[in-house]
């Protein structure tokens, strides 16, 4: 399990947004994230300004972009979080804590099909 910190979220958010720009294109990502206060990204999805709680910002980003393609967002978030977890050693004494991946995934609203099942 991964001990989460603001820098972790920053890093995950940046990597995640870069992937979203590649997947959906800059116009779609920027247009959909313009209402999120405290977040400014450039044309490649690199975070230029981030204010407030990175965790909350990430949750809001995921929520907004999931409206474009639920699967694409979940899949790329999984990839980013998995890659991020590989880079950070897992301290033995915090292994009982929920991972950042779990926290983020729990915050993603269920799609209509998930709800049905």
């Amino acid at each position: 399990m991964l001990q989460t910190s603001e820098s972790d979220y920053n890093s995950v958010l940046s990597e995640f947004l870069q992937k979203q720009v590649l997947i959906f294109g800059h116009d779609a990502v920027v247009a959909n994230l313009q209402d999120i206060k405290g977040l400014v990204i450039d044309s490649e999805g690199i975070v230029k300004k981030l204010e407030g709680s990175p965790q909350q910002v990430l949750e809001e980003v995921v929520k907004k972009l999931s409206e474009l393609s639920d699967y694409a967002v979940k899949h790329s978030l999984d990839t980013v979080v998995a890659a991020h977890a590989d880079k950070s050693p897992i301290p033995a004494d915090v292994s009982h804590l929920p991972s950042m991946e779990e926290q983020v995934l729990q915050s993603i609203p269920l799609s209509p099909t998930d709800k049905e099942s």
Binding site: I23, F24, G25, D27, A28, A31, L68, S69, A72, T113
Partner: protein, 571 residues
Amino acid sequence: MEIIVGILFLSNFIFAGIVIHMLRSDDSKKSALKAQKKDAARKYYQAKVLQDISEEIGYSLHIQTVAQMIVNSFETLYELTSVSYALTQNRSIVLKTVMKEAVGKKYIDKVNSLTLNSLYTLDESLKGYTTSLTTEQAKDMKSYIALHFDPMPESYFIIPLIVRNTCFGVITIASRNKNAFSQEDMNMVYKVVGQAEHTIERIESLIQSENSRMINLVASLPTPAILFSREEGRIKISAANPIASQILKLPPDPSIDDIVWRMEGNMQLQTLIEEVYQGNKSIFLKEVTLQNRWYKVYVNPVYSISQNEVIGVTLFLLDVTLEIESEKLREKFTNMVVHELRAPMSSIKGGASLLLKGKLSDEDKEKMLHIIADSSERMLMQINDLLDAAKLEAGKFAVAPDAANINEIVTTKVQSLSYLASTKQISLDSDIDSSIPVFNFDKMRIDQVVTNLVSNSLKFTQANGKITIKTEMKDKEVIVSVIDNGMGVPAGKQNLLFVPFSQMQSAFRRDGTGLGLYISRGIIESHGGKIWMKSVEGKGTTVSFSLPMDLEAVVDKPPTPIMPPGQRVIN
């Protein structure tokens, strides 16, 4: 005066204010109306695209068709420069760009690169796929060549195409103009595509359910059947039921070639199935012999009621062994009847001609008259047999039971046939159980049965042989047996003797229609009795029948119709 001027000035000011307010209000109404119109157009577009998708998605869900349809709908909606779609198919990526405006190579390269990068980000494994690139000019493409510049995609957005958590492609909408697409327009496209994905998933699920129903249906058919369907443009076997696998000796995962080879043919089955798919009609393929049975092979289309189109093709092997054998038997029977009736008819005709000439002596005249009488009798018997058999087949044969003495029939029969037996040097006698009482049965028909059994024994017993007619009583049944020490019947042929025209299949062919035992069986079974045979080849034959003695109920009833042997009347 000043007051009046002041009032006029104030009233003008108020009037101007009212006019300005009204004009402003009119503008805001116009802009609200414009927004409503745009919103209605969006909703109309959304409904139209979804309707088109529902109507156009076929059985095999041609992804390229769906993508092309979505792309076409965008072309009419936006002021865009190009629409591209990249689709994964058979370990390759097909990337197509449709240009609405003339652009240079740099633009197309950039759009292609953006499209492929999106696809690779969604699924890294696609990087190993081969990619084919095509470009196409839209029919109404605007030309900007004269403008002497090479535009780049300044605005673009990409829509992933995902069904059942699998990415099968992306669509890129791009424009050479900056800020060409509003958030609302972009989000509506994502929404439409998302709904299209759900539609595809629902249709896929419906198709899967139809497919599994179809496979279960084929598997449970008692007739050999194989189900084919088209997957990724190729005809494949979806299911072969157990009986088809057994008869065609198919391997566990059969190919179309396996089926062709097993059906002893070199036909182009794949092409024929394709024809059935396209032509929407059934085809009779051929007649094959498999494991000593005849089959007619038919290829039929399978319709989907929900989609009103051909969704598969079945190959049926219809077992026609019985029909073919029956046809052969009928053919032989016709030949036999012609032959059998022609012989006595020739005798009658010849005898009558000689008599008409009037040159015969009295002795010869008498001989001729006897020949004519015997031949007529023989013909009559054969015709009666045929009529009885026909009645049995039609279920119109009836018996009329009445009180009668079985021993009397046997004794009379021995007396009447003794002369004929003696001419063949065969002894004919009876062994009767005198305790058998009078009981109800159809005397004439049982007499016919006994005559038939003794006639058979006389035909198949050699000189110095012996025939005995025995009667006995067991429980509430009378058993009559005709026992001979003739040539006997091979074990494999014994049961066949009770089916119509069986004599023709026998190596022991003698005069007669071969209907005697069939009719006898019908008569006995109509009395509620049984008929059976015990025979040892070279040693002799015993044919027995039983008659139940409790027939009071039958006496009070009208004649009972007889069904063909083995069948019964269903009330």
